[in-house]
């Protein structure tokens, strides 16, 4: 295995640009409005995206067929789907690591992304026909707010950019009917330069996301799509869903993942701000792409609200389905 070097993205000039310019905030909900319909972020989910999970579901949109597998993670997603229905959000806002943008943070503002996504790394698992709606007003508001807060941004309005497998997998598993509008955010990193996201910038992006959600009056679920420990096998079994071959990469990875999940279960969310970088250093955690930091920053690092619904390995990587529901579960 080759050595992996870490290079922070960016030259920090983003910190020196214009002062934050917050968007106008929508008027509060009228008195007497049902509490369960309040605007803002109503839940946050850690929603891992190995394409194996979608492949195992055998949805009609995906061409390959499987015998199943990775059930504990998929059953946790079933739980999330039930929760999501109960919350009835206006929009799902997702940050995922495989829309890789080497310059800046991009927001998909295409009203109706559609096409087929053949995954270049796992084409045998994911060849998926997608067709979904973007909440364009919110997407543009997030991009505008992030720019105002000093980040390099871009609004994707060009048709034809293939939607990546992480975005598809996480969104499908959260809402296979695709009947809730979406905002999709890119990850500012670059695998072949071995550069990772700036967690500092991801906090700014998370806060910008929250401001935009509140300013547009949306009732939103935010989802960060990261695996945890990220060392994995360099070969795949002949049957990808052969669960006899599936287990954590090693005990070191597993133990570090458990330390992170214990903090979530204990509701010690603020401690995660310092623990996430340690976990990345110890495990090459995919949280280096910043989705988890973005998610928790958007929610204001809520203390006492975390749940771990499942943990499991996929080709040796650690994956957890987690939920933060500040208003409590309905």
């Amino acid at each position: 295995m080759a050595s992996v070097f870490h290079v922070p993205v960016g030259d920090r000039t983003w910190q020196r640009r214009g002062a934050p310019g917050p968007l106008p905030v929508s008027p509060p909900a009228p008195a007497g409005a049902p509490a369960e319909r309040r605007a803002g972020i109503v839940a946050g989910y850690l929603a891992p995206h190995p394409p194996h999970l979608l492949y195992a579901e055998n949805p009609p949109q995906n061409e390959p067929r499987s015998q199943g597998g990775w059930e504990s993670l998929r059953w946790a997603y079933e739980d999330l789907r039930t929760r999501l229905r109960a919350l009835a959000p206006d929009v799902i806002v997702l940050h995922a690591p495989h829309w890789i943008t080497m310059v800046g943070h991009h927001v998909n503002c295409v009203p109706n992304p559609r096409g087929i996504s053949v995954e270049p790394i796992f084409p045998h698992l994911l060849r998926y026909r997608y067709d979904f709606r973007t909440d364009v007003d919110l997407a543009e508001a997030i991009a505008d707010q992030a720019l105002a807060d000093g980040l390099v941004t871009r609004k994707l309005t060009t048709e034809g950019v293939r939607v990546d497998y992480a975005t598809i997998t996480a969104l499908h598993l959260l809402n296979p009917d695709w009947d809730i509008p979406v905002v999709s955010l890119s990850a500012n990193n670059n695998p072949y330069y071995y550069s990772t996201s700036s967690l500092e910038q991801m906090e700014v992006l998370g806060e910008a996301t929250r401001k935009a959600i509140e300013a547009t009056g949306r009732r939103a679920v935010v989802a960060g799509s990261n695996s945890l420990s990220h060392f994995h096998w360099d070969r795949e079994p002949d049957l990808p869903e052969d669960m006899a071959a599936e287990h954590p990469f090693d005990n070191h990875q597993y133990r570090w993942d458990m330390r992170l999940l214990e903090l979530i279960r204990a509701g010690r969310t603020r401690e995660l701000r310092t623990f996430i970088p340690e976990h990345i250093e110890a495990t090459e955690s995919e949280t280096k792409a910043g989705s988890l930091t973005w998610l928790l920053a958007a929610m204001g690092w809520p203390e006492g609200a975390g749940e771990v619904l499942a943990y499991g390995s996929v080709i040796g990587t650690g994956n957890a389905v987690c939920a933060w529901e500040p208003d409590g579960r309905r």
Binding site: M1, A2, S3, V4, F5, V7, V9, G10, D11, T13, W14, W99, I100, T101, M102, V103, G104, H106, I116, V118, P120, I121, F122, P123, H124, R127, V152, R154, L156, T158, E159, G160, V161, R162, D164, S186, N190, P191, Y192, Y193, Y194, S195, H232, W233, D234, R235, E236, I315
Partner: protein
């Protein structure tokens, strides 16, 4: 090196894969790099290869070594980062030498490595291949044999992948040129710039890039390979310069290289390097 292998080798090149080389209004360095890639292509075609064996660092994978077996990948590549520019959308219509590639896969497997055959409609060919191929071979005369760049593969394994390609060429009676599509240092500029603003993102990176290019021009390949990890660490080199290890795996780069161009692409270092056939 066996005589037959030497006969099968028709030269090698390392070329950039950033789409800026196709810009309608390029920065001077982008234009120079594009012209140099065309020149490298002319030299390669003059050596009369039957196919181009190509590794692009932008087709990065994590499991085994993927090989393209679709005989005619075609479509439009809309780059997920550069889509807003004229060079962000590139059409391609490639020919793949399936017989050569299949034999290559068998040779990889014979070495105990995992070859993953890839043949799917709508498979997204990466930006690096789509950028380099039309510059090297504007008329599409040469079929390709394409392999992915495993993010975690050791440099020695990538060298073995190239050696396997040379054996496959020999076994199928082909004469092949090797192309690695890769940048050098990677201090990518993290803002939107005009072409004339482009410059290598860090002075130290440029010193490293030029040091390595001078060594290659002097025929000191082994010295560069010995420095590879340090260079990769100090200048954040594209895929740790394992693309050079891939080319070196042919065993045929034992001569001074022609460094045809060097310059910035959005802050990264990029070069066109050509090794002639014996």
């Amino acid at each position: 090196m066996a005589v037959a292998e030497a006969t099968a080798f028709a030269g090698a090149a390392l070329v950039p894969g950033m789409p800026h080389l196709h810009a309608a209004e390029p920065a001077p360095s982008w234009a120079e790099l594009a012209a140099a890639t065309r020149a490298a292509g002319e030299s390669i075609r003059a050596a009369r290869p039957d196919a181009l064996v190509m590794l692009s660092t932008q087709w990065f994978t994590v499991l085994g070594h993927q090989l393209q077996l679709d005989p005619n990948p075609r479509g439009t590549r809309v780059d997920e980062n550069w889509y807003a520019y004229d060079y962000g959308e590139l059409r391609y219509d490639l020919r793949v030498d399936v017989e050569l590639t299949e034999r290559w896969a068998q040779e990889i497997e014979a070495d105990g490595l995992q070859a993953r055959r890839t043949r799917y409609d709508d498979f997204p060919i990466d930006t690096g291949v789509v950028v380099a191929q039309p510059l090297l071979d504007p008329d599409g005369e040469l079929p390709l044999a394409l392999v992915s760049c495993n993010l975690y593969a050791a440099a020695e394994d990538l060298a073995g992948i190239a050696a396997a390609a040379l054996r496959a060429a020999e076994a199928t009676g082909r004469r092949v040129a090797f192309v690695a599509v890769s940048g050098l240092s990677s201090a990518l500029t993290q803002r939107w710039i005009a072409p004339d603003e482009d410059a290598i993102g860090a002075a130290g990176n440029e010193r490293w890039d030029r040091r390595v290019l001078d060594m290659l021009a002097a025929g000191r390949l082994d010295d560069v390979l010995a420095l590879r990890e340090e260079y990769a660490r100090e200048a954040s080199v594209d895929s740790q310069l394992r693309a050079l290890a891939f080319l070196a795996g042919t065993g045929c780069l034992d001569r001074p290289a022609d460094v045809l161009a060097y310059g910035p692409v959005w802050g990264t270092g990029a070069a066109v390097i050509h090794w002639r056939s014996p």
